[in-house]
Amino acid sequence: MTEETKEPGTPEAPKAAESAPAPAEKPAAPAAPAAAKPAAPPAPKKWEPTGEVVTTPVTERLAATFGDAVAGVKSSCKEATVLVPKARLVEVLQFLRDDADCAMDYLSDMTGAHYPNNDKKFEVVYHLWSMTHKQSLRVKAQLDDGEACPTAIHVWPGADWMEREAHDLLGIVFLGHPNLKVILLPDDFEGHPLRKEFPLGGAQEEMIRANRYGKPVYLPEDLEEAQKIVEERRHGR
Amino acid sequence: MNFQTLMDVIGWPLIKIVILLVPVFTVVAYLVWFERRVLAFFQSRLGPNRVGPLGLLQPVADGLKLLLKEDIVPTNARPFLFKIAPIFVMTPAIAGFAVISWALPWVTPAGNTHGFVVADVDLGILLILALSSLGIFGIILGGWASGSKYPLMGSLRSASQMLAYEIPLTLSILTVILLAGSFRLSDIVAAQQNLGWYFLFPGLIAFGVYLVSAVAESNRTPFDLPEGESEIIGFHTEYSGMRFAFYFVGEYANVVLISVVAASLFMGGYDIPFVKDAALYAAHPNLASVLGVLSFAVKGALFAYFFIWIRATWPRYRYDQLLRVGWVVLLPIALGNLMLVALLKLWLLR
């Protein structure tokens, strides 16, 4: 991974540093965006979706039955999205599946996401599809760090492994899940990789990549040092 | 004990054994090559063609490789039984060739004749059947003695499979014996010669039953469950090196044995088709016996090709379906056929 595209440190670096793309001394650089002003980095930006709220028959039906508990979410590419409080999540999902004109009988995908800068750290996302009405809907619920989320396995048994994967990679605990065991990672793996503060390489990969013959694979910025390393790699053995 | 009796008792049989074993082992080795090439040609690919011209030295290469490979005895295996199990598979398969008469007796210029058979036992077919059922013992012992789960499954499967197919095999051979009137193989071939045509026509159903149960007996597709490659890999999973070669040679010797027995029982053995054998033999005996061996070999090769052809095309039976075919389908047909042929013979004789 080249120096500037890969953040070896925690990607927690404030957004401003991330958006300074090109290194300063590239001679024939295309018009670099004017971002790289050395101002004090702004407070970490919360993540909010842009665009406008999309209303479909399903969202209207939900608003009618649940009132303001179910809030529409802005979407930049015309996708019906609904934010549901965690307490009433299973109730909404059950309603969506059993109601006649929602009839969301197919859970296409269920996953989690980690937003360290938002006030509610985690988000659980369900993508639903109705076979009869041919409509799709995204149901989201926000959780705080360490807060447990009710399982949707009684509504759709298909959510079993998806929830185990979200628990495994993100650390979201699902209440009522029959065997919330580790699914994708080795049993003795501590830490949840998809969290933002988990380093990309993880402890093992840095060690693996570095110790192929004990020499770093990536070359530093300046020329002489790089040449020295390459010489030493080639003939040092 | 003068020299002459010594020769008759030990000398000649030993020479005949050597004369028999050398071609048998080369035929078995080259059946392996033949199968891999023909199987490849069925699957629109070339098969082994790098070792020697057309890959002809491939069996030698395989044999050498297996010889040099270390044959490991797994830790929780029973070492003694693990080592002797492969012998039980190979020896019966090779021993079966002793009773098969390959051609009319060879007349030496000095006038005495030597039969083209190692031991012209009058109960030849029964001996082959007994020996082939001994082969199962090697498979079961090997699977169980390996100590790991997959070979154990393979050996249990082969035990029940052999039981299911032993009886139809015997019954189908009984029908032929009923037609021929004797257990001795040379008599069976002689019966077919003076009957005018082969037992293939009167005993067609027996021929079908024989083929199916023979394929099952030698663990080949569609009944190769004990060594179902993609399911439980088979009873010889833990074997490597020369011990695995024993199993390998044993299996292919079985295939050759079955093809040869099928040729002699149903296709008239060393009888040269469309030719008056007795007259030819009277005229110049040695030529007749050589031609007889050749026609025998062609018929055997035909059967081997048929077995390989089946292996290339048909999928594999499931374990319970395999037993169902053995017990529910083949057994009644074999019994009914035996009854039918018996009545036929009785009606003809009267």
């Binding site: 595209t5 996953t111 048994p157 079993d160 994967e165 | 499954m153």
Partner: protein, 382 residues
């Protein structure tokens, strides 16, 4: 003998008479019939499967984490490594998701080229599935016939995209190049020859009584269970549920082509096999219509800059991959790197159905069921 599927674990009648223990057998992760590093812990009662538990994660490379450290264009080659026998379809899924987030209109000609390549990749995937599935059930030659036809398709990919298996097929916004000079006639010749070869496979397998006995009534999963377990693709359609992403939410101008979606009746291994065989024939129809209706000239790529910065937001785009509904849920925070990228892989979800299919069957049925699910472990473990 159809294996009866009672709800709870199968108990053999002998259990009361003689107290027998179940026998635990480890199938995988290194096993010829598990199509990769998948491990199933079987509790056996003799040969009958009492219960089954799957162990995954042997091929987990953390693709979702990897993608968060690459720019949008740099991430495309990694998705070929997901389902490495259906790489063009994975790339189409990701690229479609980013185009949806950018609200970018892909030119008509590029959409047609994408449909042709997607359907070719689907046929190649089904050919490999047919070969390995038939090999697991015992028909050896099927593998080599399937791979022989697949080679013809891979040569077409090499001529058009540069690589045979992991092609990095599509840039964001359209297609890199048009078809090379001699490509379309070669493709037409292949389209004439494929249905004849599929007829050969059907004579080899569909009528064969051993194949029918091995697959009919094996691994049955009802339509209700299949929908509840979120299965997708031929595995779901084998149970009779009519859900094909190309028909349900048409993307990349699939609505211009007419093709049927093959459905099964009772959701056993044979129906899933028939669904895929008929799907191959339908793909040949689609390719022919796409090649005929291809606009002669036109843009190959929409207007997209070198550094892509989609507006902050999220998008979920699904594609009918060869194994089922492949979905990409991408979240962007305005930077040039994806903020969160989740891949809904059909093999991962379809594999959940294996436990209901195998309960009560024999070991040979477990092998047939895994084959009929057509799973690829790269996609399961991501």
């Amino acid at each position: 003998m159809a294996a009866e599927h009672t709800g709870e674990a199968f108990t053999s009648p002998l259990r009361e008479v003689m107290e027998t223990k179940t026998y635990e057998l480890n199938m995988g992760p290194q096993h010829p019939a598990t199509h990769g590093v998948y491990r199933a812990i079987l509790q056996l009662d003799g040969e009958r499967v009492v219960s089954m538990e799957s162990v995954l994660g042997y091929l987990h490379r953390g693709i979702e984490k990897w993608a968060e450290y690459r720019t949008w264009t740099q991430a495309t080659p990694i998705f070929d490594r997901l389902d490495y026998v259906g790489a063009v379809l994975n790339c189409h899924g990701y690229v479609g998701a980013v185009e949806k987030l950018l609200n970018l209109e892909v030119p008509k000609k590029a959409q047609y080229i994408r449909v042709v390549l997607d359907e070719l990749q689907r046929i190649a995937n089904h050919l490999l599935w047919l070969g390995t599935h038939a090999l697991d059930v015992g028909a050896q030659s099927m593998l080599f016939y399937g791979i022989r036809e697949r080679e013809a398709i891979l040569d077409l990919f090499e001529a058009m995209l540069g690589q045979r298996l992991l092609q990095n097929a599509y840039p964001i916004g359209g297609v890199r190049f048009d078809f090379p000079k001699g490509w379309v006639p070669v493709c037409y010749r292949l389209l004439e020859e494929l249905p004849k070869k599929i007829d050969d496979y059907e004579t080899l397998l569909t009528g064969n009584r051993i194949w029918v006995q091995r697959t009919k009534g094996v691994g049955v999963i009802s339509a209700k269970d299949a929908t509840a377990l979120s299965l997708s693709g031929p595995t779901l359609r084998g149970s009779g549920v009519n859900f094909d992403v190309r028909k349900a939410m048409p993307y990349s101008s699939y609505e211009d082509f007419d093709f049927e979606v093959p459905l099964g009746q009772n959701g056993d291994v044979f129906d899933r096999y028939m669904c895929r065989i008929r799907e191959m024939r339908q793909s040949v129809r689609i390719i022919r219509q796409a090649l005929d209706g291809m606009p002669a000239e036109g843009e190959l790529k929409g207007k997209v800059g070198r550094i892509i910065r989609p507006p902050a937001g999220e998008a979920y785009y699904t594609v009918e991959a060869a194994k089922g509904q492949l979905g990409y849920y991408i979240v962007s925070d305005g930077a040039e790197k994806p903020y969160r990228l989740h891949i809904k892989s059909p093999s991962f979800v379809n594999l959940q159905g294996i436990e209901t299919m195998c309960r009560g069957g024999l070991i040979a049925d477990v092998v047939a069921n895994i084959g009929s699910l057509d799973i690829v472990l790269g996609e399961v473990d991501r």
